[in-house]
């Protein structure tokens, strides 16, 4: 009987999900891309009148980044997906992760992020894996 109880307990431990207390912060990117545009020449009656060189601007937000991360990780995230920074609030280590959270779908994307300094009081992203 004792052996059976022990087996049940072990089985329960195997299936138990570790509970952690996490600090969860939203990451927000709001960027403008400046890209070299086309060069167009205006020729009238065989004479070059003007040459126009364009600069194209494009906005990029967190949603665009989440979409690109979805493609890279073969996920299709919804419009409600969030990019978050997660740190174990009870841990003294600098362990942390960057995740895309889309409902119950949680995808670790830490390997795509890097930052060159530690945060003031905790972890930034882990070092990028090469």
């Amino acid at each position: 009987m004792a052996a059976m109880t022990a087996m049940v307990m072990v089985a329960g431990m195997i299936h138990a999900k570790a509970v952690t207390t996490n600090l969860v912060q939203k990451i927000n990117f709001s960027l403008v891309f400046y890209e070299q545009g086309n060069t167009n020449q205006n020729v009238k009656k065989g004479v070059l009148r003007t040459t126009t060189v364009a600069v194209n601007t494009m906005r990029m937000t967190t949603r665009d980044l989440i979409a690109a991360l979805g493609t890279a990780t073969t996920n299709s995230f919804s419009a409600k997906a969030q990019l978050v920074f997660v740190r174990d609030a009870n841990s003294l280590s600098n362990a942390a992760a960057v995740q895309v959270r889309d409902g119950t779908n949680v995808v670790d994307v830490s390997s795509f992020f890097c930052e060159n300094e530690r945060r003031h009081h905790g972890a930034w992203f882990g070092a990028r894996q090469r």
């Binding site: 207390t21 996490n22 912060q25 990029m60 795509f112 890097c114 905790g122």
Partner: protein, 109 residues
């Protein structure tokens, strides 16, 4: 560079720090050269086509939060950044904008 106030009576700390930080979002296949030279396109086989290599003035506001009788310090950052990048179409670009980490949400999960 930072300024802070520590209340020795209750252990509460709050302050602000200013520094220059770099933020990189890139596939592991990216090289240092491809991240720093706007004319370099990422190598073939890159899973994450969008790339960012940004740096700039970063403000970190921090304060303590009481949790289970203990205290943790939470950083919230706001950075005005510029740098280089590659958009989802593979076009290199100069980039400017903001990067923020915000929130003091504690979740047991």
């Amino acid at each position: 560079m930072h300024g802070s106030v520590l209340d020795n009576a209750n252990g509460k700390l709050k302050g602000v720090a200013y520094n220059l930080q770099q933020f990189i979002v890139a596939d592991a296949a990216a090289t240092a050269s491809s991240l720093t030279n706007v004319l370099n396109i990422l190598p073939a086989g890159t899973k994450l086509v969008l790339t960012l290599n940004l740096s700039g003035f970063t403000t970190t506001a921090y304060s303590t939060l009481t949790l289970n009788g203990g205290k943790i310090v939470i950083d919230e950052i706001s950075a005005d950044v510029s740098g280089t990048g590659v958009d989802v179409n593979g076009t290199p670009a100069l980039v400017k904008g903001t990067v923020d980490f915000s929130g003091r949400t504690i979740k047991v999960e």
